[in-house]
């Protein structure tokens, strides 16, 4: 911990700081995905997860393997693909809004396990 603080004061940001941020983003994304009530917030949580992976790729590339650009390219492609994902997901959410007039997760309860049956 001491060395990290020393690096901060000297102006060099250590790799651990970035990884720390990306892990916080990742796990808060998972938490948000499981706990949010609105579909839009769930989508934003997923974006957090995808972006934390992008940060990881960029940071690992910059600090550990600066001779190639594989991580940067991967992050670029991932950003584009996650934009597509969001576009499709938003389209589906808008469709749900048209059908049900809200975007709450709880209102998506038409498809579920049947009650225990007594037929033989």
């Amino acid at each position: 911990m001491g060395s990290i603080l020393e690096n901060f004061t000297s102006g060099i940001i250590p790799m651990e700081a970035y990884i720390f941020v990306s892990f916080i983003m990742f796990f808060s994304g998972i938490y948000g995905f499981l706990s949010r009530k609105s579909l839009l917030m769930v989508l934003i949580s997923i974006e957090l997860i995808l972006n934390s992976a992008d940060i990881n790729f960029a940071v690992f590339n910059r600090y550990l393997y600066p001779e190639h650009f594989e991580g940067f390219f991967f992050a670029m492609f991932t950003i584009a693909i996650s934009a597509c994902e969001t576009a499709v997901a938003i389209a589906i959410v808008i469709n749900i809004y048209r059908n049900l007039n809200n975007v709450e997760v709880d209102s998506l309860d038409e498809l579920k396990e049947p009650e225990a049956s007594d037929e033989k």
Binding site: I46, A53, F74, T78, V88
Partner: protein, 473 residues
Amino acid sequence: MNYSAFLQLHNEMTLLAVIVILLVIDVFSSEKGYRFFQTLALILFSIHTLLNCVPGEPFEVAGGMYMYYPIHTYIKTILNVGTLIVLLQAHRWLNTEENIIRRGEFYFLTLSTLFGMYLMISAGHFLMFFIGIETAALPMATLVAFNKFNNKSAEAGAKYILSSVFASGLSLFGLSLVYGATGSLYFDDIAKIMTASQIELIGFAFFAVGLFFKISLVPFHLWTPDVYEGAPTSITAYLSVISKGTAVFVVFTIFVKVFGVMIAQWQILLYIIIVLSITVANLFAIRQQNIKRFLAFSSISQAGYIMLGVISGTALGMSSLVYYVLVYMFSNLAVFGVVTIIENHADKTSIRDYTGLYYTNPKLSIVMALALFSLAGIPPFSGFFSKYFIFSAAFKEGFYVLVFIALANTVVSLYFYLKVVKIMFFNQSENPIERISTDIPSKISLIICTLAIVFVGLVSSIFEQISVLGFGI
């Protein structure tokens, strides 16, 4: 850059040509020409299937990002045939009044997902793999939500896209850790550098969870029954066979090729997941009343059986996996064909509605019974042979207890498969489904499936052909 290298990817290129031709016709054709759209689509796709069914020599394109091995031709041909059958079964559904305006989109989206699956199968780099998996998943979500005025379909679409994007987010995070530990994303390079250190194991765990979501193995299966029930039936068939078959094949190649160092660890992981998948899915299948939910749980347990080929990690495991996918495809598509026909004509999806089907529609119920026998693994249908090969592949690697559990579960699955057969043949209904006369494309698809169910197992040269090229990795 040498663009002529792209010509080597003839499977992808012809599929792309089919997609572009269909798109252009869909947008620009006259009213008169549009009547032949579906026939044209089927003919073009059949030509594409026939052109690409002969395996060639291994090669790689784009510096190893795209790898071709002869076994890829087999798995891609299986997917092509499966897609063709789904297109045949969807023929009538697409001609209904509400869908006639969206026909072009259906073909465009279905073939796009197929294109993504090709990329997944032939990937030699994680970027290619990731692009493939997303190209397959995103059009799939729109297909699931295809009936956009239907609440169920929209809900299924939302559930599918959210869980699928969440899964690929987990995969991606796992991949970033693997990249951090090894410094490369090429399959071959990673395999050389990897030492099964702790960070690599964590990365692998995240990555594997993302993939298991796609195959819908227990405990990552919770989206499956809802999505299968809500999606249009032809799409459900596509999702349960083509999408699953691809994912299983890819899991095998990636686990063996990239994460081969961790074989001891992932065998334990798979062991637990296989036991859970087969047992839990079988127990849940018993209590289902909706036929599509029932088939969803049946497909989860079948996925568990297919993973027995992966856990062995040998050439025999690979060839019996491809063979199992082939047989499973025909059996499952036959069941879905019957379900689609009955849903289209009588609008009934509950298992109870099938009571006494034999007395009004003997041909349909016989096809359904044969397919269910094959899924349950009763000799002499091909399902028996595929189960036999996949069990022996796992048995040879010493998984005696696992194979025994799988065998015991086969008996459980026999119960619920045969319950449907019993309802169709031996129970009388007061309100039976009326006599149905189906359209020609559905008939053709059912005939193909039935012939395959009976003969694929008996013609032993098919398995031998696959096993010659077995270890295509």
